[in-house]
């Protein structure tokens, strides 16, 4: 994919939410997801998971307020980050661990593993 993107695809919404920058890394036994969450404190982060999805909502300590900007051309404020991700493989929701450090949220989601030993013939 080049730099092209959908005409109205934006990383913000009129609902007061910004879409955070995030990265998904598919490792051997777990899926590692990080989110860049400036202006967010640990107590203001909510993480919800199912076997197939991850949803993060994070309230900023100070709302972001932009005036006379872009297509909006009036004052617009954002209070939170919000993002839902469909995971590439099923995970164990009860074993998910999350840490927030220096404004970056790291979530480790262990994959569901049903190990079966195969006998060589």
């Amino acid at each position: 994919m080049g730099l092209e993107r959908s005409l109205l695809k934006a990383t913000w919404g009129y609902n007061g939410n910004l879409e955070p920058l995030y990265e998904v890394e598919d490792l051997e036994d777990l899926i590692l997801v990080t989110f860049d969450l400036p202006r967010v404190k640990k107590e203001d982060v909510e993480v919800h998971t199912t076997r197939n999805t991850l949803e993060v909502t994070a309230r900023m300590s100070n709302a972001v307020c932009w005036e006379r900007w872009g297509v909006v051309q009036k004052k617009i404020a954002f209070q939170s980050f919000k993002k839902q991700i469909r995971l590439p493989e099923p995970i164990e929701p009860e074993q998910v661990e999350a840490t927030l450090k220096n404004g970056v949220l790291r979530i480790a989601l262990p994959k569901i593993r049903q190990k079966v030993s195969i006998k060589l013939v």
Partner: protein, 253 residues
């Protein structure tokens, strides 16, 4: 033949043995954040821009004024030149852009090393409090300068993107060039890495009297403003084989 990339100097600028700082977007937007901070704090004036049919057909508006996203700034004496962009460099533009810039540096008869301010992507950046800064030089004399400034060298590995080609194109023209690489988040804007890089660049440019404390204080605000450029740059970087920077060369010694 018409040039694919044109360096347009908007006014008659007198250069005084200039040193060039290149801060085009790359991982962590280290160079772009550093270059923007320097230009803003030291009130450099815009002296030109870069245009090309290979760039996206985009202009930027600031204070109601139309501006080119690829801009060139200078201090009042023409001693320090800063190159930055507010949009990602399209992969197809890397070769012609670095070629055009290197030709322009030759025309300016730049005697001091060209300095590209960049990031070194670290998976564990989150756990690094103070980013380390490394250097790459394009010649024995450039490496000697890095050593003289007590900068650790990147000894082995691949480098990819605009700064890699900048080093090469400058070398082809016998122009000394170095890259200053601060450990950074690969896909998140990193003002902390930009601050670390500026501290090193100050060793090369004594006139760079900026206090990075302000940059660090405003880190969260900068991160919020830089989100969209970071996203564009990440998409572009994937096509520039940036992932190869994590690979080991076969002739590793």
């Amino acid at each position: 033949m018409e040039e694919i990339v044109r360096i347009v100097e908007e006014e008659e600028t007198v250069y005084t043995n200039p040193i060039v700082l290149e801060g085009l977007p790359d991982v962590g937007l280290v160079g772009t954040i550093a270059a923007s901070f320097i230009v803003e704090k030291l009130e450099y004036r815009e002296i030109g821009h870069i245009e090309s049919e290979l760039f996206p057909p985009v202009m930027v508006i600031h204070d109601g004024r139309l501006e080119n996203p690829f801009r060139i700034y200078s201090d009042a004496d023409g001693r320090t030149i800063v190159i930055l962009s507010e949009v990602a460099v399209p992969p197809k533009a890397v070769y012609p852009l670095t070629t055009a810039l290197a030709d322009w540096f030759r025309k300016l008869e730049v005697q001091q090393p060209i300095i590209s301010i960049k990031g070194l992507p670290m998976k564990n950046r989150m756990d690094i409090e103070k980013p380390e800064v490394f250097g790459v030089g394009n010649s024995a004399s450039a490496v000697a300068v890095l050593k003289e400034k007590q900068l650790d060298l990147l000894e082995e590995g691949f480098i990819a993107g605009t700064y890699a080609m900048m080093l090469r194109e400058c070398a082809k023209r016998q122009i000394s060039a170095v890259s200053v690489l601060a450990q950074c988040y690969p896909v998140y804007p990193d003002p902390g890495a930009a601050a670390a890089a500026i501290e090193v660049v100050k060793k090369f440019v004594t006139a760079l009297d900026v206090d990075v404390a302000e940059l660090l204080e405003n880190a969260e605000e900068i991160k919020l403003r830089a989100r969209d450029l970071m996203q564009q740059t990440t998409q572009s970087a994937q096509e520039m084989q940036k992932g190869m920077e994590q690979d080991m060369p076969i002739m590793y010694r």
